[in-house]
């Protein structure tokens, strides 16, 4: 026997902030997979087949920042530090920071249940998110 699912329309259920962040967590996960795929294809095009091992390519996929391939046998790092890769890395850092900080808030909510505590967690999370986004962008663009 097939059970009939009870469907509440989104307008009645409320498309509130938590709901939006639930969706954002899933969509940003897909976006980060897409970025990793772009980084993988880019690494293959730029010569990873001859000068990098599997773990090096994975590290480049985690964040396509040129310092992640410094320790490889690549003869020329210039294409790895191009504007395109800096923009990709910037997108990844911004998405990953938002995804990660929200994830920490979700975990904290499992243990901190009083409204005031949750408010404090959210305040700290916003400050942390902005600070680490800025630091990440500085590392990508100026170091």
């Amino acid at each position: 026997m097939k059970r009939q699912p009870r469907v509440v329309p989104l307008s009645k259920r409320g498309f509130n902030f938590e709901m939006q962040m639930w969706l954002f967590t899933r969509l940003s996960a897909l976006a980060m997979h897409a970025i990793a795929l772009v980084a993988f294809v880019g690494a293959m095009v730029m010569g990873a087949r001859y000068h990098m091992n599997f773990a090096d390519v994975m590290r480049w996929m985690f964040t396509p920042n040129v310092t992640h391939v410094q320790s490889t046998n690549l003869p020329d790092l210039d294409p790895w530090a191009s504007l395109f890769w800096k923009l990709v890395a910037m997108a990844l850092v911004l998405i990953a920071t938002a995804h990660g900080v929200h994830g920490l808030v979700v975990i904290a909510d499992d243990y901190i249940v009083k409204p005031l505590g949750r408010k404090i967690v959210r305040l700290i999370s916003i400050v942390t998110m902005i600070a680490f986004s800025l630091m990440g962008l500085y590392v990508i663009w100026f170091s």
Partner: protein, 125 residues
């Protein structure tokens, strides 16, 4: 508003939830591991200097790389499963099978990464 849970941490860790619980707790460990250690890594790269170099040397050491690769790859592959099942809820009926597929993807990928990292560490290449 607030909910109370009368479950101690040790009781929670002993919970036998099988596959779904295992992936849940590993997803959490991986998520916290990434949030903490990638934050430290970004902070160290931002600071530079001897202190930053010291922190990044720890981060780049091969035992630590094995740990952070576990966090990232498990979180990524498990996250992809969660995303696919949540965005196409009809597939939730097959979540136990999906977990098997997930481990079939994760174990070879991670094992090969560990093999490459360790063999590089041993040969110094």
């Amino acid at each position: 508003m607030g909910m109370t849970r009368n479950v101690s941490l040790f009781k929670a860790l002993g919970y036998k939830g099988k596959g779904p619980f295992l992936t849940f707790i590993l997803h959490r460990i991986g998520g916290i591991g990434m949030a903490v250690f990638i934050a430290v890594h970004v902070l160290a790269s931002f600071m530079g200097g001897p202190a930053g170099r010291f922190l990044n040397d720890i981060y780049e050491s091969w035992p630590f790389q094995i740990f952070i690769y576990f966090c990232v790859m498990f979180h990524a592959i498990n996250g992809l499963r969660i995303t696919i099942l949540d965005l196409w809820p009809k597939l939730l009926e097959y979540q136990r099978e999906a977990i098997w597929v997930e481990f079939a993807v994760f174990i070879p990928l991670y094992a090969f990464s560990v093999y490459v990292i360790v063999s590089n560490a041993l040969t110094g290449g």
